[in-house]
Amino acid sequence: MGKPNDLVQGTLDLLILKTLSLDPKHGWAIAKRIEQISNDVLQVQQGSLYPALHRLEQQGWIRGKWTESETGREVKFYSLTSAGLARLEKEKESWKRLSAAIDLVVDSL
């Protein structure tokens, strides 16, 4: 495995929101999930994951809740708020527009 691809600026938020739209997860699980789904192409660095999570929480898109995990210790689970769901839709929209635009440019050459 080579150097993990740097996430396109601003897409991490979208990925986190999307990942959380299914069920609440803790930070490690979010990172793991993104890696799995992207077949290890997208590697989420802790250095950007936690700042992003806290930013989203401060913005009110997601909500952190300390609950007991299966192993019996307190873990912070993040879940999507209703505002976050709306946000996710918007982020998706703009991502689609952006990637379509990039495709157009790339394919035209």
Partner: protein, 885 residues
């Protein structure tokens, strides 16, 4: 719902910041454990798994910081950190901090106090209903431009009845009387006012007890009623509500108490103790358009301009004038807002004080700024290192600003405490201040002070902060202690600040000097008579009891005789109003020997009633002719004496003796009196120009005009010790008769100049404080320069420079900003002097004496302040200075 979530998070972040921090660490730990577990499940041994996980995790401190930076309230945390850092640095140098805080406290305290006074007196509207709708109406004679003449009662009656531009108009006049009870209570002289029945409704004032006057009570011959002020109600009747409906005796005449005014109502002056209806204070024949004494307050209709309403009244007044040609009846009517009328006399002094206090605050800021620059210079290396390590310039400036903010806030709190005390003191000691009761610290004053605190912080901190965090970091780091060049620009900055400080100080000093000099002029103004060992005691014989000339005369003469025989009395005499004690009144007259001049041009002079011994008792010189004799009494009174000013003005180049004056002292038909003497001028009111005066004999005993008298006594002993014996003689003659204004001549002068002395001493106080601040600033700058240049001076001396040369070097360095500041300040002082011309008395705005004296005292102070560091510089031992490196 998003805002709710955000609010919840914000709340957590603000109040549970510590918990959130430890939780964040637990989040990281968990993440790490999961990674380790993941690694182990991929077949690594535990130790390896751990190392790999930690390597993948990266720098936990950095991660923590990055995550933190996403939190809200970070700015607050930054400020908190700056505050802690700032207070720590300040505490490390308590001497500096204390000096700076005290300097700022003085500045802010004085500013806040004066602002409180200015706001309460000048800016806050009168405590009446819709006060901006209230205007004062005055008459204006066309020959006296810009004058505001009091109104004649007949004019007021006609204006109110015949014009419709105003919602309503009310009138009042000064009045006064002897207050006594039905049962031999102590008599008391009270200042009072007479107001038209609608006065209180025009102002929008409700009595706290009872009612105001009715129209029926406000007419000639009405039954007599009285409204008490709150202070009289409390002091004389101890707040007993039963006084309502009861009778009290004023000038021996019973009056029914119908109401009590609220405590806050102190218009037109707190000395007014009771109000009586307006019209009954006149005799029917005195309600004329040519006797002026009343003040008229008018209330504007909604959406009506004062100009239009006044125009209508003015047109009516012109008709009245045309109907009374040849009499002193004004042509026009003018108005001014009531608030302006009330504060007129103190406006300029207050503004001058406010400006001087502002100047002082500015000087205080400059001084602290200067101190901060000095500190900044000492911490130059530290700042440079922090800059080199990545501290942003903004951050560094912010940190230094926090320091100056801390100083200002501490100074502000201390200053506000000071100002609470100072304001109280000002309000009680400034005797001439109108509306002193309204002075208090309120929200606006606090907001103002807060603004001043931040402004001070900005002024004092910004310049030093910018100068010490300059871009030339590397240069500073390379600076060795031996190099001198690096300090030059900073020294220039400090010298510039110092120049500004000195210029402002000189402006303050010059203004203070001018005010003080005009106060001294007032203080020592020659009244025209002896003022040493003279006691004056006033009394007024009530007309009801003393209703014939014989009775009035009998009392006056009996009292004079009794007082003259008291031990310690060298001379005693009677006068209606003593010199310096006020205007009393004037009368118009004609001179039969002179052809009648223009119809409206009336001759006018002050009148005084005296007994034959008056001039010799007060040593007022006889210039021509003779004094009155005992023969000038009762109906035999056919002579008058005139003052020098009168003779110069109305008989230029003529001998006035034997000429006549046709005058009516009582307001009735005129009578011709022969001039028998000319005496020296006396001043009726200190600070006012001398007026032509005409004297008549009080021995005429007319109950209408000769009943008010001042007994003036020249004492061989301490004059005030005679006050009780004299009062005893008065009550022996009439136990119901009170005396008042028991004052020595010196006290009369003191009273008249008290307010001037007050503002002059305040400005002088500010100026002296500023002088001290400037001296401290100068001393600080020079000491700093000397310490910076110690090695340079050492080298110079080692190379053969004489100590005197070193002394001169430092002194010249210090005196250069002083000289520039002095020149700027003198120019500013000249401009200020011209601005405050109107409150100067007997002093030219460019008085060279004041300018020289103030420049001299500044130079002297500056010389002393720079001499200390200069002497220190020339005592430097070259060897030691060089070894210091």
């Amino acid at each position: 719902m998003r805002w709710l979530n955000r609010a919840r998070v914000s709340f957590l972040m603000l109040f549970r910041r510590g918990t959130e921090k430890s939780r964040l660490n637990r989040e990281f730990e968990f993440h790490l454990e999961q990674q380790i577990a993941d690694n182990v499940s991929h077949g690594m041994d535990p130790e390896q798994a751990r190392v790999a996980a930690i390597r993948l995790f990266g720098n936990p401190a950095l991660l923590e910081e990055n995550t933190h930076s996403e939190w809200t309230w970070n700015w607050l945390e930054g400020i908190w950190r700056d505050l802690r850092y700032g207070s720590r640095t300040l505490l490390r140098t308590p001497g500096f901090s204390l000096t700076a805080i005290l300097v700022i406290a003085l500045g802010i305290g004085a500013t806040a106090s004066l602002f409180t006074v200015v706001r309460s007196v000048l800016l806050r509207p009168l405590p009446f209903r819709d006060p901006d709708k209230l205007v004062m109406l005055y008459e204006r004679f066309r020959e006296a431009k810009d004058s505001y003449n009091v109104v004649a009662p007949a004019d007021f009656r006609d204006w109110r009845a015949q014009t419709h531009g105003f919602e309503d108009m009310a009138a009042w006049r000064w009045w006064g009387g002897n207050l006594s009870g039905d049962h031999g209570e102590l008599p008391e002289v009270v200042a009072a006012a007479a107001g038209s029945w609608n006065l209180f409704s025009v102002l929008g004032v409700q009595p706290v007890l009872g009612r105001t006057f009715t129209p029926d009570e406000d007419r000639i011959g009405a039954n007599d009623v009285v409204i008490l002020s709150w202070s009289l109600f409390q002091s004389r009747y101890s707040g007993d509500k039963d006084i309502l409906g009861k009778q009290i005796r004023i000038d021996s005449k019973p009056r029914t108490v119908v109401g009590v005014l609220p405590a806050w109502f102190t218009y037109p002056d707190p000395v007014v103790k009771l109000w009586v209806p307006y019209v009954p204070t006149f005799k029917a024949e005195n309600i004329r358009p040519d006797s002026h004494q009343s003040f008229v307050i008018a209330r504007l209709r909604d959406k009506q301009s004062a100009a239009a309403a006044v125009k209508e009244v003015s047109a009516l007044q012109y008709q009245i004038h045309m109907q009374n040609l040849g009499k002193p009846v004004a042509e026009d009517v003018v108005s001014k807002p009531m608030i302006e009328d009330v504060v007129e006399d103190v406006k300029t002094p207050l503004i001058v004080l406010m400006c001087s206090v502002g100047c002082m605050l500015l000087i205080a800021c400059l001084n602290v700024s200067n101190l901060l620059v000095a500190r900044g210079a000492a911490r130059r290396k530290e700042v440079a290192i922090r800059g080199a390590l990545g501290g942003s310039r903004r951050k560094l400036i912010q940190e230094q600003m926090t320091e100056s903010l801390l100083i200002s806030v501490a100074g502000g709190i201390l200053g506000l405490l000071l100002s609470f005390l100072a304001t109280k003191w000002l309000a009680t000691h400034w005797s001439d201040l109108p509306r002193a009761d309204a002075i208090r610290v309120d929200g606006t004053v606090l907001v103002f002070s807060l603004a001043v605190v931040f402004l001070t912080a900005l002024l004092a901190g910004l310049l030093p902060a910018i100068s010490t965090t300059g871009k030339n970091l590397l240069g500073t780091l390379q600076d060795s202690a031996r190099s001198i060049g690096g300090t030059v620009s900073r020294a220039t900055l400090r010298k510039t600040l110092l120049t500004a400080e000195i210029a402002l100080t000189v402006v303050l000093l010059v203004s203070a000097g001018l005010l003080f000099r005009s106060f001294i002029h007032l203080r020592t103004s020659d009244l025209g008579c002896v003022t040493d060992h003279v006691l004056t005691v006033r009394y007024g014989l009530p007309e009801k009891k003393y209703d014939s000339p014989e009775k009035v005369l009998a009392f006056h003469e009996a009292l004079l005789q009794r007082v003259r025989s008291l031990p310690g009395v060298r001379a005693a005499a009677l006068v209606s109003t003593a010199p310096g004690a006020g205007y009393e009144g004037d009368n118009v007259f004609t001179i039969p020997e002179h052809p009648q001049q223009g119809p409206s041009l009336e001759l006018d002079a002050l009148t005084r009633k005296i007994d034959p011994g008056y001039f010799s008792a007060l040593e007022i010189p006889l210039l021509r002719g003779r004094f009155f004799t005992e023969e000038d009494r009762l109906e035999r009174m056919q002579h008058v004496i005139i003052s020098k000013k009168f003779a110069d003005k109305f008989f230029p180049g003529e001998n006035p003796l034997g000429k006549h004056v046709s005058i009516s002292f009582t307001g009735n038909t005129r009578q011709s009196y022969e001039i028998i003497g000319v005496v020296g001028d006396t001043i009726h009111d200190i600070g006012q120009p001398i007026k032509a005066t005409i004297y008549r004999s009080i021995l005429n005993g007319d109950p209408r005009i000769d009943s008010m008298a001042t007994i003036v006594v020249r004492a061989a002993v301490e004059p005030l010790s005679l006050s009780m014996p004299i009062q005893r003689q008065v009550s022996a003659l009439d136990p119901e008769l009170p005396v008042y204004d028991v004052l020595t001549m010196q006290q009369i002068i003191g009273k008249a100049t008290a307010s001037k002395s007050f503002s002059a001493s305040l400005v002088l106080g500010f100026a002296l404080l500023s002088l001290i601040l400037a001296a401290v600033g100068l001393y600080g700058v020079l000491s700093y320069l000397v310490s910076q240049r110690a090695s340079e001076i050492g080298i110079r001396m080692a190379l053969g420079a004489q100590r005197s040369e070193v002394l001169r070097l430092v002194l010249v360095d210090g005196m250069r900003p002083v000289a520039i500041g002095l020149i700027l300040g003198l120019a500013g002082g000249a401009a200020t002097g011209l601005l405050i011309k109107s409150i100067l008395y007997g002093t030219r705005p460019l008085d060279p004496g004041v300018f020289v004296a103030m420049a001299g005292s500044l130079l002297l102070t500056a010389l002393i302040a720079s001499a200390v560091p200069a002497l220190r510089a020339c005592r430097i031992e070259p060897v030691q200075a060089l070894r210091l490196e």
